[in-house]
Symmetry: D2
Subunit: 140 residues, 4 copies
């Protein structure tokens, strides 16, 4: 399997298309196994009680899977999330970055499916698990 | 069924416990049927292509269901989301607020389950549908 | 909105295409709001402890939503389930039929999304809630 | 981590508590990584078009995860499924057994979460992926 985009190309794509959130992220790895992303946790991602918010975890899962698909099909910007099922299993640590490990399980012509494990840096056990489906627009 | 918190009490709770996001929201309704929330869509909620981001829709679903549960059980701040399944069905309109209609389907001693329909103001058909589960901490 | 198939046509379709399970079901209603199905609970659907099994509830949700979509698009037999998220909320009563109320929330060209509330006959509160996505094959 | 039940003990438990479906299954493996189950596909699991039915896949995922949890906590028969999100990704081959690989991702006092990959014997790519949550009854 050959990747259409590597970590560098995904980083450029993210900055160009998702300027509003791009600087919160770092593409750490893009290979045949999938994509590894870091979300640099800051003040705005926190919730009272010293933890990272659920929507922040969702954001990381969504971006990581999106880039894992694009790594395989190239920069098809109109690919959209159609479904996500997410389990929040443990509290992330407030002062630690989140790490997302995304892998593509199915890459069809019109649908792609994958899952993401989310970790709080330094904890061995995942804080969340998500599965996501994306609709890929038909080629003209 | 008697509510423990009405729209005013939920608004006060939101401002106190979730100061970072409280001013994006308005509790429009809290009654036996559930809770109606408005998310005031601004620049930071948008995505290229003129639409509202998926994490913003998730945020609205999560907050609306959380408050629908608290309306029934009172201000139990440690209640946490354990699961969410969300279908993104249509593109929200960029310049319109999002409206979330949350209803509680089960209120057990330790788990609460409900669903949320999300609308883009002015569109008759829902843009998203979410079901969510929350763990309620045991009373001492 | 005009239905392509009414309750009678759906019953005929079910018997022809799903002979193995058709006699467990009854199409009670098919109208603009969706489809109402009855699953006639028998010995084989039960679990120890006097309840109906989870896979039986899943089966009802899947068949009810499938027919709700076909009522709208006609007998497209190759339509397949791609995703289901289901919450089991209460124990069904062992000796009672299950009732499923399916509604279509989105009917696109290639994807249909809907949800189903499942009741144990005689109980006011739902025993389960499911959301399902189906892929509709392209027309030639 | 020490298992409370090995493959043999799980097989005995399944026969005693789930006599109606036990002979369709084989526990192939139970270790620290999780549980591997085989569903012996027969006539009653098939759908027209030469494939295995969705409810059969759901059944395998549910049983595999249930036993993976019991392997860790022992024979707590009242443990119940509260949620399942399942993606159907490829058509299983009609004449082949299904194989389920279940792993536990979280084992809390009252909730357990895990996921299952389902394979059609002989195909390298999974036919389905499920995540499931179970409620564990409190100990007296």
């Amino acid at each position: 399997m050959q990747l259409q985009m590597d970590a560098g190309a995904l980083t450029v794509f993210l900055a160009r298309e998702f300027g509003q959130v791009a600087d919160e992220f770092e593409v750490e790895r893009a290979d045949a196994a999938g994509v590894g992303m870091r979300l640099k946790v800051g003040e705005k991602h926190l919730r009272p009680g010293g933890t990272v918010s659920g929507p922040t975890i969702f954001l990381l899962a969504d971006v990581a899977m999106y880039l894992a698909i694009l790594a395989r099909i190239g920069p098809v910007a109109l690919t959209v999330t159609t479904n996500c099922a997410i389990d929040f299993m443990r509290k992330p640590v407030a002062g630690r970055d989140l790490l997302g490990e995304a892998r593509v399980l199915k890459l069809g012509r019109s649908l792609a499916v994958g899952d993401v494990m989310v970790f709080s840096e330094g904890l061995a056990e995942p804080v969340a698990r998500a599965s996501l489906t994306y609709a890929i627009p038909p080629k003209d």
